[in-house]
């Protein structure tokens, strides 16, 4: 049994502490916005925040987040009103959409640290997140829009 805060809610998960947090969140808790892409920390589809820092949930033992604050795409806003989510819709970023939760969570970390990132800042920060549909230019445009419009 591991207890932590998930999207501002206290949860207890009956999983082996060695279980990757990805599966604890998806299958044990039932929040499926966080995606499995590679299971090896290589693609970023499972990006979540742990105490405000973007992490790959597939590489985190569930036991290690005991007492910590975990946030997933479902916790970013209650109604898709986060500036990044609004910008993602305006720029029509998603295609298949599978990587986009991870992209948005990674971008949210950037804007929380750097409200006015340059294009180069964005690329450096986002380079670990793969989008196989190739929406990278729209991701950049959406981050720039969110930064501009807040």
């Amino acid at each position: 049994m591991v207890s932590f805060t998930l999207n501002n809610r206290q949860v207890s998960v009956e999983a082996d502490p060695k279980t990757p947090l990805l599966w604890a969140i998806r299958d044990h808790v039932g929040l499926t916005g966080t995606k499995y892409g590679c299971g090896a920390g290589l693609c970023g589809a499972c990006t979540i925040h742990i105490d405000g820092t973007a992490q790959r949930a597939c590489q985190i033992d569930t036991g290690s987040v005991a007492g910590k604050k975990v946030m997933t795409i479902e916790g970013l806003s209650p109604d898709s009103s986060h500036p990044l989510q609004k910008a993602w819709i305006m720029e029509e970023v998603p295609q298949c959409g599978y990587c986009q939760s991870g992209q948005i969570m990674k971008a949210a970390e950037l804007l929380a640290r750097n409200a006015k990132p340059t294009r180069a800042d964005i690329i450096t920060h986002m380079d670990g997140n793969i989008c196989r549909c190739g929406t990278y230019h729209r991701i950049i445009a959406a981050i720039e829009r969110a930064s501009r419009e807040g």
Binding site: A15, D16, T19, P20, W23, R26, D27, H28, G30, L31, T32, G33, T34, K35, Y36, G37, C38, G39, A40, L42, C43, A45, T72, I73, E74, L76, S77, S80, Q85, W88, I89, E92, V93, P94, Q95, C96, G97, Y98, C99, Q100, S101, I104, I122, I123, T124, M126, D127, G128, N129, I130, C131, R132, C133, G134, T135, Y136, H137, R138, I139, I140
Partner: protein, 735 residues
């Protein structure tokens, strides 16, 4: 969720007020019929295709499986256009997986199919959906005319309203649905009655995709997200050595026999935490557990002795060299693909002859969502349900039915969003596998292939060797053309090999086939990727040799068609083609045809000669795709293919050693990341009024030729082996 599962259309139909326009079994494609007609069909599946509720809500079913390309939205939009529906009040649901009702006629056969492949969705459904929409509108108008006692011909519509211009009277579609009737035989519609292009309110306008809002908050449901009561999880380990039999990858025939597990550490894995059982499959083992992490741990702990597989001992690099020998062998079996004019004569009388060879490696789809499915079989074993994101729900249903020994009708298919497809998700092999497991464990099962499994069991774009020869006359005009492609994969190998956009009089095009046992499949334009690369590099080579501008050469000496000239002219304008480029940068061009569309593209590149890394700075593509139904979504789709093309051309490579794939995850199968993104990417559709043609794959096949042609202008060397990895670039620079 906007997409609801279609549990029982008949009951939905029975329980609603309003008008339901149905379709049922017909031999002439998608046809609307009245509810009365539908109800009269004994035992026929009855499904409302369009439903108008008294509150004005209109529900339209979509056969457009959604993998990011936008068809889920564009197909109902076409129907809504002719129906003159208020789009803001239209809801979209998936159609059931019944091709006899919802399919289009196979352009290469007689059956009805639901395969969303080969950029077919819009172009093959377009006419049927327009006619259906027009029929619905006609019925609505007829009802209003009857109520008002006027001639239907005097009435007009605005979105979801019938109007009598003479009196100013208005009846909304919802109001009509409350009292209206649908005639037993729906009114016929003449194509002349369809809207003029200038009357379109939706087609050609930038209407947002309906799936977007669900893809920014994690609520879009992919098959991997489905959870059923009592569900258990499965993780599979397949024979690492491929065992494909010729042709068996065809949808519905995907049973991969042999390469079965012979013995394994059964007791050890069964004793692991959470493991419920181990199921032997025709070509692998499935570990079933209470949670996925336990199933995967069990799978990772398996130690298996495998039976022999066809690809045992196969090495991809060696095979490419064998292809060269097959090409040189005068007795090798060949399949003739094109024979035009007098090729021998053209070469005999040539002023100059050209010759070039090209190679390409295997390519993997690398869709972001690893293959997965959920299946539930009922206790009696006579009914199954499958949840899957599929490009071909009809084929998946067939594959599941076959695996369970059921009839297709005993399987209900629930469509889900796909986390990428690119040609991999149209066969149902993993859904059939999940069905076998579910039947065996007698519980609902979610099967997820690990990324490692997804690559190891990939069905690849085939590798190839190609030899091209051309004869030119005294004026430099190309008079003779020979193209031979050698490799595995039969018709996967030949797409894009013909050159109808050029006017070369004498042509001989052929394929020489082998069969290695490696699993192969469609892959975003598949053969176009390497064939177009070879053709367009070869044409560029001749242009350079003759000292003629590459576009001029294509116009004057390759006899480019008017349609090809138009896209090249548009490209030249877009890219300021004649302008000088910054120091260290060059431009390369290429043309490509795919699914009826034609595209002329250019890239501007530079090279880091120390590392061998090619940098693509700018990309332009002019596309003739006919009438574009959803321009914004279509542009995004073409941009996606450009990135997919750049990724495959610069990075992606599958190699096979002793019959097993050498790559295992994204650390050694490199796909393009944001830092490789071009600074500028410009896509322009040529404004034409012809029928819509395919747009999902027009963006990637030109990249190989364009990059290699720009590279030649930069270095004087030709890249002849896809992909152009830094190692290969350095080798080429040394030659």
């Amino acid at each position: 969720m906007i997409i609801e599962s279609n549990i029982s259309r008949r009951s939905v139909l029975a329980g609603l007020s309003g008008m339901s326009f149905c379709i049922a079994l017909g031999n002439d494609g998608v046809r609307l019929m009245s509810q009365a007609q539908a109800n009269a069909l004994a035992n026929a599946p009855v499904t409302p295709w369009v439903r108008i509720a008294a509150d004005g809500k209109i529900t339209i079913l979509s056969a457009g499986a959604e993998m990011g390309q936008g068809s889920m939205t564009s197909l109902p939009l076409i129907l809504a256009e002719e129906m003159d529906a208020d789009w803001s009040n239209v809801a979209i649901e998936w159609t059931p997986a019944d091709p006899k009702i919802y399919g289009y006629k196979d352009p290469f056969g007689t059956e009805q199919l639901m395969w969303i492949v080969g950029s077919r969705a819009v172009q093959l459904y377009f006419n049927q959906l327009r006619m259906a929409g027009a029929q619905v509108r006609k019925v609505l108008i007829a009802n209003a005319a009857q109520k008002w006692g006027v001639d239907a011909a005097t009435l007009k519509t605005e979105p979801s309203v019938v109007i009598n211009p003479a009196t100013g009277q208005r009846l909304s579609y919802g109001e009509i649905a409350a009292f209206g009737t649908i005639p037993a035989t729906l009114p016929a519609v003449d194509t002349k009655e369809l809207k003029e292009r200038t009357q379109f309110r939706l087609i050609g306008k930038s209407v947002p995709r309906r799936d977007t809002p669900f893809k920014v908050n994690g609520s879009a449901q992919y098959a991997i997200d489905v959870k059923l009561p009592g569900m258990v999880y499965a993780s599979t380990l397949h024979s690492p050595v491929h065992n494909a039999q010729a042709g068996v990858w065809d949808p519905g025939k995907q049973e991969q026999t042999g390469a079965a597990p012979e013995s394994w550490n059964d007791a050890e894995v069964k004793a692991m935490q959470g493991v419920i059982g181990i199921i032997a499959l025709p070509n692998g083992l499935a570990v079933v557990a209470d949670h996925f992490e336990n199933a995967k741990a069990g799978r990772d702990a398996l130690k298996v002795n495998w039976k022999n597989a066809k690809a045992a001992g196969f090495n991809s690099g060696q095979a490419l060299e064998d292809y060269v020998r097959i090409h040189a062998d005068p007795n090798a079996q060949t399949a003739k693909l094109e024979e035009k004019g007098d090729v021998k004569g053209a070469f005999a009388s040539a002023t100059k002859a050209y010759h070039a060879e090209f190679r390409s490696d295997y390519g993997y789809h690398a869709q972001m969502e690893p293959l997965n499915a959920v299946v539930r079989v009922n206790d009696a074993g006579d009914k199954a349900e499958v949840w899957e994101g599929s490009q071909a729900p009809d084929e998946s249903r067939k594959a599941v039915a076959k695996a369970l020994g059921l009839k297709d009708e005993q399987v209900d298919f629930h469509q889900c969003y796909m986390g990428g497809g690119f040609g991999r998700r149209s066969i149902g092999d993993y859904a059939a596998e999940c069905a076998r497991i579910a039947k065996e464990v007698r519980r609902p099962v979610k099967l997820i292939w690990t990324r490692e499994e997804d690559i190891a069991q990939g069905m690849f774009r085939p590798q190839s060797f190609q030899c091209l020869e051309a004869a030119t006359d005294a004026s430099g005009k190309v008079t003779g053309w020979k193209h031979c492609v050698v490799g595995d994969g039969e018709f996967l190998l030949i797409t894009g090999i013909k050159i109808p956009y050029y006017g070369v009089s004498n042509q001989h095009i052929e394929r020489r086939g082998v069969s290695h046992g490696i699993k192969l499949k469609h892959w975003r334009a598949v053969g176009h990727v390497f064939n177009t690369f070879a053709i367009e590099s070869f044409v560029d080579q001749m242009a350079a040799d003759q000292g003629v501008d590459p576009i001029e050469f294509r116009f004057e000496r390759m006899g480019a068609s008017p349609k090809a000239r138009k896209v090249f002219e548009t490209l030249a304008q877009m890219s300021d083609y004649k302008a000088s480029r910054p120091q260290g940068r060059t431009i390369g061009i290429s043309i490509t045809e795919r699914s009826g569309s034609l595209g002329a593209g250019a890239v501007e590149i530079s090279l880091d000669a120390a590392s061998g890394k090619i940098r693509v700075h700018k990309v332009w593509l002019a596309v003739d795709g006919g009438l574009v139904v959803q321009p914004a979504a279509a542009k995004a789709n073409v941009e996606s293919a450009i990135i997919y093309g750049l990724s495959s051309v610069l990075h992606e490579r599958i190699t096979i050693k002793d019959g097993a794939v050498e790559q295992s995850n994204f650390h050694d199968y490199n796909v393009m990341r944001m830092s490789d993104l071009p600074d500028e990417m410009t896509v322009q559709f040529v404004d034409v009024d012809t029928r819509p043609t395919g747009l999902g794959e027009i963006g990637n096949p030109f990249i190989g030729g364009a990059v290699s042609n720009a590279f030649y202008r930069l270095t004087g060397k030709r890249l002849r082996h896809l992909p152009f990895t830094p190692e290969r670039v350095l080798e080429t620079l040394k030659t």
